[in-house]
């Protein structure tokens, strides 16, 4: 249901019932972690019309009569998975529903995530059950530019109902992930140098394309260029409208990403970044955020040098950092950012830092912190309920609330 629809619905219902709407709810927590500021003991969150209208200690918040009330030991903001391909891939890995990667060409930014995203994919419910309310999904790593990404809530029956940003980023890959083996139909790009050259060439084309459009604006003598879906999209990267999400694991590939970002003065977000701990100063100086590989990702291939301490090193260096579930071709078909963040707690991260990396900091990196990522008045009523420390292996997710609607009451 879109927010507009919900608003209309609530207007219709206003005269009909004096008590709560479907998108009204009160959540009481023995402790509420808002992701901004100190935890609130014995706290209350009031959600009306899908938005948070009050949060604070139980004694300070007046609870409207007649609203559904749920209780939990621990309440956090709805969790954000900063990069996944859930919804783009069928969870049984069958041919024909693995839509995260189109192998016909190396550079296809025109591929829209909204044209592939399956809002009814079972793993979306799986994520939701554990408290994940927002995901950044879309085309995965594996080609120089594989396509677009989107941001969606983990609810809704169609992509139109689910999405909160239909075009979030343009997904790019550097390093071995973009290099073709030559075994298949294509054998280019075959080297790192060629990958970078092809990406730079296309960004240059987009620069020229954008320049021609600008020149034609307000100048009847000049014809604008023919519409080109690929260059239109890259022109939005060139203008700074959209960030390039660059998957790069090895230190040399991360440096290539920073080099190209500087050359074209574009916004990038580093993705994966297994060796980012070698380049803390460089990444920080470039002002680039990192969506870090899952902590429990397999330590092989380009991730052979990954470390469980990378999150701690990035965050304590002041680099904006978020966790992701990543892309899995086999089992598990998806990971859970809750679990990935959890295992870093034995490796230097505080619980508050880990929570921020799957809530407010992820929201900032994704540009959606005006709506989600923390429990603050005015934000979407997205909450996750637990019976204890959310990060502890033996705790349970109790329920999930999205836009004020309890969308899960499965204990998991």
């Amino acid at each position: 249901m879109t927010y507009l629809h919900k608003s209309l619905l609530s207007l219709l219902l206003l005269g009909l019932c004096i008590s709560g709407q479907a998108s009204d709810i009160v959540v009481r927590g023995d402790v509420i972690y808002t992701a901004v500021g100190e935890p609130i003991d014995d706290g209350v969150v009031v959600v009306r019309n899908g938005k948070i209208v009050a949060v604070g200690p139980a004694g300070d918040v007046s609870i409207p009569n007649g609203l559904k009330v749920v209780n939990a030991a621990v309440v956090t903001p709805g969790l954000i998975d900063a990069h996944t391909v859930v919804g783009m891939v069928g969870y049984l890995s069958q041919d024909g529903d693995q839509d995260q990667l189109e192998r016909s060409a190396a550079i296809q930014p025109e591929l829209r995530a909204i044209d592939a995203y399956n809002a009814r994919e079972p793993l979306i419910e799986w994520l939701r059950t554990f408290g994940v309310t927002t995901i950044h999904s879309g085309h995965g790593p594996g080609e120089i530019i594989s396509g677009q990404t989107l941001i969606a809530k983990t609810t809704g029956d169609t992509v139109e109902e689910a999405e909160i940003n239909p075009v979030a980023m343009v997904a790019a890959t550097l390093g071995e992930g973009a290099v073709m083996s030559g075994d298949g139909a294509r054998n280019s790009p075959g080297t790192r140098g060629k990958v970078a050259a092809m990406l730079r060439t296309e960004l240059l084309n987009a620069q020229n394309y954008a320049a021609k459009i600008s020149a034609a604006e307000g100048n009847s003598d000049k014809e604008p260029p023919t519409r080109d879906l690929k260059l239109e999209m890259l022109a939005r990267v060139i203008s700074g409208d959209l960030p390039l999400l660059v998957t790069a694991h090895r230190h040399n590939d991360i440096m290539t990403a920073l080099r190209i970002a500087r050359e074209f003065d574009i916004r990038i977000v580093l993705d994966g970044a297994a060796e980012a701990y070698l380049l803390l100063d460089e990444i920080k100086a470039a002002g680039v955020p990192v969506i870090l590989h899952p902590a429990m990702a397999r330590a092989g291939g380009e991730r052979e040098n990954m470390s469980f301490t990378t999150a701690e090193q990035l965050i304590n260096a002041g680099i904006p950092t978020a966790f992701q579930s990543g892309y899995e071709a086999y089992v598990p078909k998806t990971r859970l950012v809750l679990f990935e963040a959890a295992v870093t707690l034995a490796h230097g991260l505080t619980a508050e830092q880990a929570l921020a990396a799957i809530t407010i900091d992820a929201a900032k990196i994704l540009g959606i912190d005006n709506r989600v990522g923390s429990i603050e008045v005015g934000k979407d009523g997205d909450l996750a309920l637990y019976d204890g420390d959310p990060f502890e292996y033996t705790s349970h997710a109790l329920g999930t609330i999205i836009d004020g609607v309890q969308v899960s009451d499965t204990v998991k």
């Binding site: 799986w126 899995e328 990971r335 679990f339 959890a342 295992v343 034995a346 990060f391 292996y393």
Partner: protein, 431 residues
């Protein structure tokens, strides 16, 4: 150990050239013996690679070294019943059934996987070939002691031969183009035909009654299967879907082999049938269902469901599917789903030892068993706990305070490169 730690060094310098020959008392930790209730502020006394005593009030001999481990938790070394560290390789693509192939002949003892396993508190592993065959070869049970060859780290049977099981699989992974089977029924019929051949081979040997003239010619595949039929070699069977699980039980009933079910995604659907067959289960807890058809209904619920049904339940890493450094997490996820704490901890240790027929030597902290144990910073089921030390036969094999060991535990640049320095001769052969 590349860098002898101060404690062991003092023993070496002090009195003996045989590491661990002097008694050592670990004092002050909470001890989880698995064989008995946990002991707060307990003492673990170790000598000559074996456990001498465990308890709240153990007499510490005057010549013993005393190690203060107050605030720590000690539990038995973990037993991973299903791992692919060390690059184990069995059968090739030539046929679906290759019982003659031994992973013994493939293991790379310098593989960094062994170090990762120790960092996760694992001290015994069953190294197996893959699930892409109905029968991919002979597995090997390995003790994670220092060793320069697979023979020095393999468990040995009484006759000196290496100890191990037989890897089998059904379901989807072993289905492919001929000569591999294309259906489940074909898979079962190929296996049955092979076991019938083995039964006849055994019968010919019995009929020969020691007469060399009447003995069948030696056949490596049949010899291995004869060990399976006699119960000497345990089948470790990859299986996921409920009907595939029942197919394993049906074949087990027909041929009488001993079997451990591995992975068993849908165990929660046939827990009673598994219990009735008195067959143990080694579970893997995967972070989401799916990834392939046969794991569609994978559910953490299998752990408590099997416990309720009375099945002997253990866990495995299937490393590289899950990393050995996170093995304890399996048990914790079992508890999350409703399994009891005791059964979960047993599942990491004694249950696995039983599934490998090694429970007379390992799996608990008891007098006379191998001194294989893990020292943890806290509760084994907590995400905040870390392995501090891993000891194998009274020798410290992992120490979080050793920079190289710590790098293995955490990762980092070059941390998981294969080991190139591997010289150690402090053991007698033949463990």
């Amino acid at each position: 150990m590349k860098r002898p730690n101060a404690f062991l060094l003092s023993i070496l310098i002090g009195t003996s050239s045989v590491v661990g020959a002097e008694p050592t008392a670990f004092v002050g930790a909470k001890i989880i013996p698995v064989a008995a209730a946990p002991i707060d502020n307990g003492v673990l006394l170790v000598e000559d690679g074996k456990i001498v005593s465990v308890g709240a009030s153990v007499r510490v001999p005057g010549n013993a070294s005393v190690v203060d481990v107050a605030g720590m938790v000690i539990m038995p070394g973990l037993v991973d019943t299903h791992s692919h560290i060390g690059e184990p390789a069995g059968g090739d693509r030539s046929s679906p059934i290759q019982p003659e192939a031994r992973v013994l002949d493939s293991i790379n003892v310098r593989d960094a996987g062994f170090k990762r396993a120790l960092a996760g508190g694992i001290t015994t592993v069953n190294l197996m070939s893959g699930s892409g065959h109905l029968m991919s070869g002979q597995t090997i049970y390995v003790k994670l002691r220092e060793g320069n060859s697979i023979e020095t780290i393999a468990y040995k049977k009484d006759d000196g031969s290496v100890d191990g099981g037989m890897k089998m699989a059904n379901g989807t992974n072993s289905r492919r183009d001929p000569p591999f089977p294309g259906t489940r029924a074909k898979s079962a019929s190929l296996v049955r035909q092979e076991y019938i051949a083995a039964q006849e081979y055994v019968a010919r040997i019995e009929r020969a009654d020691g007469d060399p003239e009447k003995m069948p010619e030696r056949d490596l595949a049949m010899e291995a299967l004869a060990e399976v039929l006699s119960g000497e070699r345990i089948v470790h069977h990859h299986t996921h879907r409920h009907d595939d699980i029942l197919t394993v039980l049906r074949l087990q009933q027909e041929f009488g082999f001993r079997v451990v079910l591995h992975h068993v995604s849908e165990a929660h659907r046939v827990a009673d049938e598994i219990a009735a067959a008195k067959v143990p289960v080694s579970l893997i807890m995967i972070d989401s269902p799916g990834g392939k058809l046969e794991a569609q209904y994978l559910d953490f619920e299998s752990a408590p469901a099997l416990e309720r049904a009375g099945v002997n339940v253990g866990f495995h890493t299937d490393d590289y599917i899950t990393d050995s450094r996170f093995f304890m997490r399996m048990a914790a996820l079992g508890v999350r789903a409703g399994m009891s704490r005791d059964t979960a901890l047993r599942g990491l240790t004694l249950a696995g030892a039983e599934m490998l027929d090694l429970d007379d030597r390992i799996g608990t902290l008891e007098r006379g068993k191998d001194a294989d144990f893990v020292i943890l910073s806290g509760d084994p089921l907590s995400v905040y706990s870390r392995v501090q030390q891993t000891w194998v036969e009274g020798v410290k094999r992992f120490d979080i305070n050793d920079p190289e060991d710590r790098a293995v535990a955490e990762g980092g640049f070059g941390a998981l490169q294969p080991s190139y320095v591997h010289e150690f001769h402090g053991y007698e052969e033949g463990h």
